[in-house]
Structures are given as C-alpha cells and as structure tokens.
C-alpha cells in the first residue's frame, strides 16, 4: 500500500501542527467540529508546501520534507507560545459518549478510521485515484497518459499530511495535552505500520484497495501493540524511540535476511 515511493518527513511537523491547532481552538470554546476542518487544512497546506518545494524547485523529496518539518517546529512553537498545552478541562471528541470511557474511545477511533479509510478507498478507485497511484508506480507512463505528475504529487502529499494532522488532532485530545515534541519519530511509526501491512498484503495476495486500507490500519495497531508489549515487559520508556527504530529496522531487513538464508 505505497502510493508514492517518498518517505515524507513533513509528517513529524504536521502531526504536531494538527495537535497545536486543536490545543489552540478547543480551550477557546470552539467545538472539535470547528477545529477539524482547520486541522485538515493546516496539515494539507504543510504537505502542499513540501510538494511544491519538491516538484517546482526540484529539491529531493526527502530534503523538502526535512526543510518543512524543521520550519514547522518554529511555527508550532510560536503558535503555542510554550512547549506544552494541557487539554484537561476542555470538551474533546472522546467525551462524545461520556459514560463508558473505554468503549467510547474505541468507538470514536473506529468511527474516524472507518469514515476516512472509506473516503480514501473510494478516492483510490476513481480515475483521479488511478492517476495518483500510477504517478507513484511509473511517472514516465503517467506523463504519457496525460497526468500532470507534479500536481498529483502535491495533491498526494497534501492529502497525506492532512490525515497526519488529523492524527495529531485525535492523539492530543486522547492523551489530554499537546506537546511540541510529540511528533518526533511519527514518520517511523507510519512507515513501520505501512511496511507491516505491505508484508501481509503480499502474503495474502490482496488486490482490493478497501481491504488493503483495512490492513494498513491493522498494521498500525499491530505496530503500537508490539511497542506496548515491549514496554509492559519492563523496557525503559526512555528507550521507546530506540525500540521503535529497531522494530522498523527488523521489518525492513526481513526480505534481505530471508534471501541470505535461502
């Protein structure tokens, strides 16, 4: 389930950006329904800037992402005015079904996943979606088929970062605060989740876009569960990023290690 072959590091900044916008709007007595479109727009804008730097200024995609991520750190910090904003006494999206805390959280997370995965699954099946997937699969062929691959890349990166900002929106409300450093390493979590999903998709020969997306969501759940297990086994929380990096390294290295043993 890779659309473009770009590891987009903008996510580390846009995840926090989504959380920052949330932390500024909710305590100011604005509902999460009002915050949601602003969050999506802010993330989308960040992704579009990365896309424009990459396509129009011909900067390597990885570097373009690093530049925007770095810039976003300052943007986020000046928006927040401090490094941490609590969201304890504000009405959040997770207070929707107030009584049953755990089931309520799950229901909200599930509702967002189903709605947005549904939208993306539909989009990927449309003519626009086919053109977007083709852009990642074969830029030469796509150009010959009348696809403006630059516009497609900008649209795709914009969409991806809008969704990343949405994650920041949800996580900040779930954990009850927004922190300037909460986005560090998010790109690795995303990459790891997609890689786990890709392994399963290849193994089970899954062709349907919708089912592939379900596996990407399962991949991210699995990824977080492995980390949770590591922590519950007594791993030092300070080593969490190290464990995350090792985990992704193992997933990435499996094909090469398999080849060696054959």
């Amino acid at each position: 389930m890779k659309i473009f072959k770009i590891p987009d590091i903008t996510t580390d900044g846009s995840f926090t950006l989504g959380a920052v916008v949330t932390a500024l709007m909710l305590p100011a007595d604005m509902s999460f329904w009002m915050a949601l479109p602003v969050v999506l727009l802010a993330g989308g804008l960040a992704g579009a800037i990365t896309g424009i730097i990459h396509t129009r200024l011909k900067v390597d995609a990885l570097l373009a992402g690093i530049l925007v991520m770095t810039a976003l750190y300052s943007v986020n910090l000046s928006l927040m005015q401090r490094s941490n904003i609590p969201l304890i006494n504000t009405s959040t999206v997770f207070r929707f079904w107030d009584q049953h805390q755990l089931y309520g959280d799950l229901a909200v997370a599930l509702a967002f996943s189903v709605f947005f995965a549904g939208c993306i699954a539909y989009m990927l099946k449309t003519d626009f979606g086919i053109a977007m997937r083709a852009t990642g699969s074969s830029p030469v062929m796509s150009t010959a088929m009348g696809v403006n691959t630059n516009t497609m890349k900008i649209a795709g990166l914009s969409l991806a970062n809008a969704l990343t900002a949405l994650s920041g929106f949800l996580i900040s409300q779930y954990q009850g605060f927004t922190d300037i450093n909460m986005g560090i390493g998010i790109v690795i979590a995303g990459l790891g989740s997609v890689l786990i999903a890709d392994t399963l998709i290849q193994m089970l020969h899954i062709r349907s876009m919708a089912v592939q997306l379900v596996f990407v969501i399962l991949g991210s759940v699995l990824f977080q569960m492995i980390l949770a297990v590591a922590l519950s086994l007594g791993a030092n929380p300070n080593l969490l990023k190290l464990i995350t990096a090792m985990l992704v390294l193992i997933i990435v290295a499996i094909p090469a290690l398999k080849k060696r043993s054959d």
């Binding site: 010959a144 088929m145 009348g146």
Partner: protein, 249 residues
Amino acid sequence: MLKVEQVSKIFNPKRSNAVVALSNVSLQIQQGEFVTIMGTNGSGKSTLLNLIAGNLFPSSGSIFWNDEDITRVPEYRRSRWMTRVFQNPLAGTAPELSILDNFRLAAIRTQSKKLTIGTGAAFQQKVSEQVSALGLGLEHKLHQPIGMLSGGQRQALTLLMSVMDESKILLLDEPSAALDPRSAQRVLQVAEKIIAQHRLTALYITHNIKDALQYGSRLIQMSEGRILRDISFEEKKNLQPETVFKWFN
C-alpha cells in the same frame, strides 16, 4: 500533418562537451503515414522522436501539427493526441496497477481525471474484448498487477492501450528491440493493425533491416543529425535488404 521545420538540437551548448544531436532537420509527414526511421546510434533518431513527443525542446526551429505551432507545448499536453511506445517494454505500463486500471488510465488519456469510478462492468467488458484479441488469455487476468506479466505481453498491451482514447500520432521507439523474435513479431503486427484501423500518423525507429522493410509506408535514414535518405512507399517495395545493409557500411 506533422511538420518539422529546420529543427536543431544542441546538448550542453557553448561548452567544451557540446553535442549537435540534430542540425537543421526538416520533415513533413501526412496523416496516416507510417514512417520507419533507421540510423546508427547517435544519428539523432531518438532526439527527433523526443522533440516531437515534447520530452525535449529544440534549440532552434519549429514543430507544427496541423498548422498549430507545438514547439514548446509540454509533453503531458501533447499526450492529448500523441502516444508513445518505448524501447523498454516495461515503460508503457504502471507495474503496481492492475491491467484494468492501466487500461482505464489509457482510456482517459485526453480527459481530466475525475473523482468518479470508471472501471465498472461495461468498461471491464470492453477491455476484456480488446485484450482477448491478442490470444494470450490475459482477459482472465484483468485484476492482476500488470507487473506480473512478461515484457512481450506488456508491450502488446501498451500498444492496445495507446488507442483506447483518441489518438492521432503514434511514436514507436524500437518497441520490439528488447523482445524475443516471436513477441517482437506480435508487437509489430499489433502496431501495424492499429495504425491502419485508426489512420494514425506513425513514426517507428528500428535497427532491424528486415522489420524496416516489412513495416511502414516510408523509410528515412538518418546520419549525424541529418536526414540522409527519404524513400517513398513505391521505392521501398523494391528495396533489397542487401542494399540497405550497404548503407551502414
């Protein structure tokens, strides 16, 4: 009519490693003409094709299509009436996409890519019919990623895809050079068939003398960035492979 007027292309101009790939080439090709281009490596054939495709822009001169100046029109816009089949049999299709999705993209080559689903039952039926004409049994594999097929199969599909949407010009850049003899023959036969069926203006680059004589209604030989010979259909019919072989020695 496709008109190339005094076109030159110089790579790295004004530097010590400057290369004159094309110098003052003029060429007129009528609608429905199937022009075969031969020439040694570095003779400028591919550069000429790239300039017509809009992949490169000329250093000087102009290119017209039906009296419209298209010299500086970018490639993705020319794709509204122009399709190209590459030497690399894998280049014309997107490997991760299914046969069906590849054909869908080809079917909307000249149109905007909208947020509507176009791969419904009617479209699948149409693709299935087209693909089954190849006799390769691919109509049962429409939902498989096209990357799982062989180069010969993919090149044949690429040709079919080129006429899924309205097309006027077909550029064939050694389309069969990387294929085994049987696949190569099949690809060229499909090409000949669709060129005749859709009255396409076609340019076909090849190094194979036999193919050059068998296919095409006009033969051009290029050398050192110029057109050396321009042979009409009547002359070409009587041309012997030995004669052509001598041109290159």
